[in-house]
């Protein structure tokens, strides 16, 4: 594909802890085209954040990206980048914003200075020009009175505004890819919708690709072109937003839809809950990770990892149930 921006092949990330080796990500592959938005959905501990950080090589001890894993950004392998290449890659071509903006910003620096820092790191320009650009960025992300805000410290801003500052820093160098790791989870719903609206407009203006990490299917519905559903370190289903919302093929994806009430629905009697809890990733069983909680679990599910079955264009799900469909067709 000519338009391919990012390709992740068989990503494996292990954490070496005292309790044993935690296999946080167990062979994740996907690719992302220019200007598209991919949402990675899953519960806490499913490896979605680790996947996102691996793209920026932000995995620290005791974590380790497996040597055979490939992360290709515009065809270049991120794993083989030198320290200098990584520096211009991070915050230049690819930016990331996190859930907790207060923890990501430096409390001892004014927010303006933090934006200027990122501009000057990647561009040769005068400080005064960088300042001008920083003020521009602040107004671009919808902060009123940007000159005054420029001189303020993170603690003087509200949660929503801090996240806007993070986005301003992330967009300082017109990144080709923005990774947003639960950008609105800590925010109130009215502020969440403002931030998501901002991300949508920036995406359209700059043509950036976005990888959105979240557990909220509502947020996904508003912005994603493609959705990958992760469970216990693997992508169990991947497809266009339409496929995932209207024609889910994996029992876990279906269960996720049924477990959340919709605000536009009348009160119903019971939610369909998913019994049990996600598996331990130190000694995962050899079969399908969802088998212990799955309504349709068969013998083979606990013994062998299901292969990925393809449906419509680009829609894939890893579930043994579809092996039955195939043999029926034959």
């Amino acid at each position: 594909m000519a338009n391919e921006l990012l390709k992740v092949e068989d990503l494996k990330v292990d954490y070496h802890t005292y309790a044993g080796i935690v296999q946080a990500v167990r062979g994740v592959s996907f690719s992302l085209e220019k200007g598209k938005t991919l949402a990675i959905v899953g519960e806490s501990g499913c490896g979605k954040s680790v996947t996102a950080r691996s793209i920026l090589k932000l995995i620290h001890e005791p974590g380790q990206i497996d040597k055979s894993s490939k992360i290709l950004f515009e065809g270049k392998d991120v794993n083989s980048f030198s320290a200098k290449e990584l520096q211009s890659y991070r915050g230049g071509d690819v930016s990331i914003i996190f859930q907790d903006a207060m923890a990501s910003l430096n409390p001892t620096m004014t927010v303006g200075k933090q934006i200027v820092e990122n501009i000057l790191h990647h561009n040769k320009m005068k400080k005064t020009d960088a300042k001008k650009r920083a003020v521009e960025l602040l107004s671009l992300v919808g902060i009123t009175d940007p000159e005054r805000r420029y001189k303020q410290y993170p603690h003087e801003l509200s949660g929503g505004m801090r996240q806007r500052v993070m986005i301003a820093i992330a967009f300082a160098n017109n990144p080709k890819l923005l990774i947003a790791d639960e950008p609105t989870t800590a925010l109130d719903v009215t502020i969440q919708s403002q931030i998501m609206e901002l991300l949508r407009s920036l995406k359209n203006e700059y043509g950036s690709s976005i990888i959105l990490i979240t557990h909220d299917l509502g947020v996904v519905a508003g912005i994603a072109d493609e959705v990958a559903v992760m469970y216990a370190g693997v992508i169990v289903e991947h497809g266009s937003a339409k496929d995932i919302f209207y024609n889910p093929k994996h029992p876990y994806t279906k269960a996720l839809h049924e477990a959340v009430p919709r605000v536009d629905n009348k009160r119903s009697d019971t939610l369909v809950s998913i019994a049990g809890s996600p598996p331990d990733l130190i000694n995962p069983n050899p079969g399908c990770p969802f088998s212990s909680r799955c309504k349709h679990c068969m013998n083979i599910c606990t013994k062998e990892m299901p292969p990925s079955y393809s449906f419509d264009k680009g829609h894939e799900a890893s579930c043994w149930l579809h092996a039955l469909d195939e043999s029926e067709f034959k």
């Binding site: 009215t190 969440q192 519905a221 919709r262 009160r267």
Partner: protein
């Protein structure tokens, strides 16, 4: 015939005194009543006073003024034995299942703490059999009784918290964001359990949350709070289908829907608010929402609207609604 009112607050106020004579009106003139077997959902954004309202309501915080009635009796008149009885009948479940359970106690001791305080057993065997029964009630087993809290997942911990609350056979539970710390697939488990227990044991709930979809699912009646005041209160379906207050309207229109086509429609009709929530310190005599309100009038800046019934028990605090 309607059920008896279990819990009622009238003109409840909780003001915190700050330095330099400033006053933070966290809960300001809030009134509501909950009937037996019903659930009142109390919603609002962070800092609107919903948690303080719940805690002041059951007497964890000392109220500034107002009345709190439990089964029609003013709780401030309760003395020793009555007060002890009241504390047995009213229990609370907290948001953070990691912070609200003692890490150095076994599950059995946590669950039995209320039994110990109120001496609800004759001997040790009876104590343990009660504990096992409670654990079974929340889908845990007697095996779990000897373990410590760190061995459990978030959903299991929240269920231990529920077992602890149910140990003393309460009639009224304050659920303060009981599911917001849990994963989606676990939320449904806990909510279903709470709803089943309500049916079986005839419990009454005050459900404090910010997740509007879940509130719609669980509540019979919903109250929306904004800066310490209830701005709208109605039967659940009435509130969600016919919101009157501009704040409720914008709040409801901001909730994303997990369905791309419906979400697209919602975004086009969304009412976006200007600015963010103001500081609730030293509010003047104006409608607390008027600075963000898309349909404000001159009167809004000079007087505080009171909560009035616009028909069918639908209460709204808005000058515009009062006029029409």
């Amino acid at each position: 015939m309607e059920n008896e009112v279990i819990f009622e607050v009238r003109h409840l106020k909780k003001h915190f005194k700050l330095e330099r004579g400033q006053v933070l009106k966290a809960v300001d003139d809030v009134s509501f009543a909950i009937r037996k077997g019903e659930t009142l959902g109390l919603v609002g954004e962070s800092g609107c006073g919903k948690t303080t309202c719940g805690r002041t309501g059951i007497g964890i915080y000392e109220k500034t003024s107002g009345e709190i009635l439990f089964k029609g009796q003013d709780i401030s008149t309760f003395k020793h034995q009555q007060l002890k009885e009241y504390k047995k009948k009213v229990q609370m479940i907290f948001q953070d299942p990691y912070a609200s359970l003692d890490p150095r106690m076994t599950v059995a001791d946590i669950v039995a703490e209320g039994l110990d305080v109120h001496k609800l057993y004759k001997n040790k065997a009876e104590r343990m059999s009660k504990v096992y029964e409670l654990l079974k009630l929340v889908d845990l087993t007697s095996e779990h009784a000897g373990r410590f809290v760190h061995e459990f997942s978030g959903g299991q911990r929240q269920r231990i918290g529920i077992a602890r609350a149910l140990a003393v056979q309460p009639e009224f539970l304050v659920l303060d964001e009981p599911i917001s710390a849990l994963d989606v697939s676990i939320q449904a488990q806990v909510v279903n359990m709470l709803m089943n227990l309500q049916k079986e044991m005839g419990l009454t709930y005050l459900f404090i949350a910010h997740d509007m979809a879940m509130v719609r699912h669980i509540s019979t009646k919903v109250a929306v709070m904004y800066m310490g005041k209830i701005v709208e209160m109605a039967e659940t379906n009435e509130l969600f289908e016919n919101p009157i207050h501009p704040y409720t309207k914008s709040l409801l229109s901001a909730i994303p829907i997990p369905d791309p086509l419906a979400e697209e429609k919602r975004r086009q009709s969304q009412i976006t608010l200007e600015g963010e929530v103001l500081s609730p310190i030293n509010l003047g005599a104006e409608c607390s929402f008027c600075r963000r309100c898309p349909s404000k009038a001159a009167t809004c800046q000079h007087s505080v609207p009171s909560l009035i019934d616009i028909g069918g028990g639908h209460l709204v605090a808005c000058h515009n609604a009062a006029r029409t």
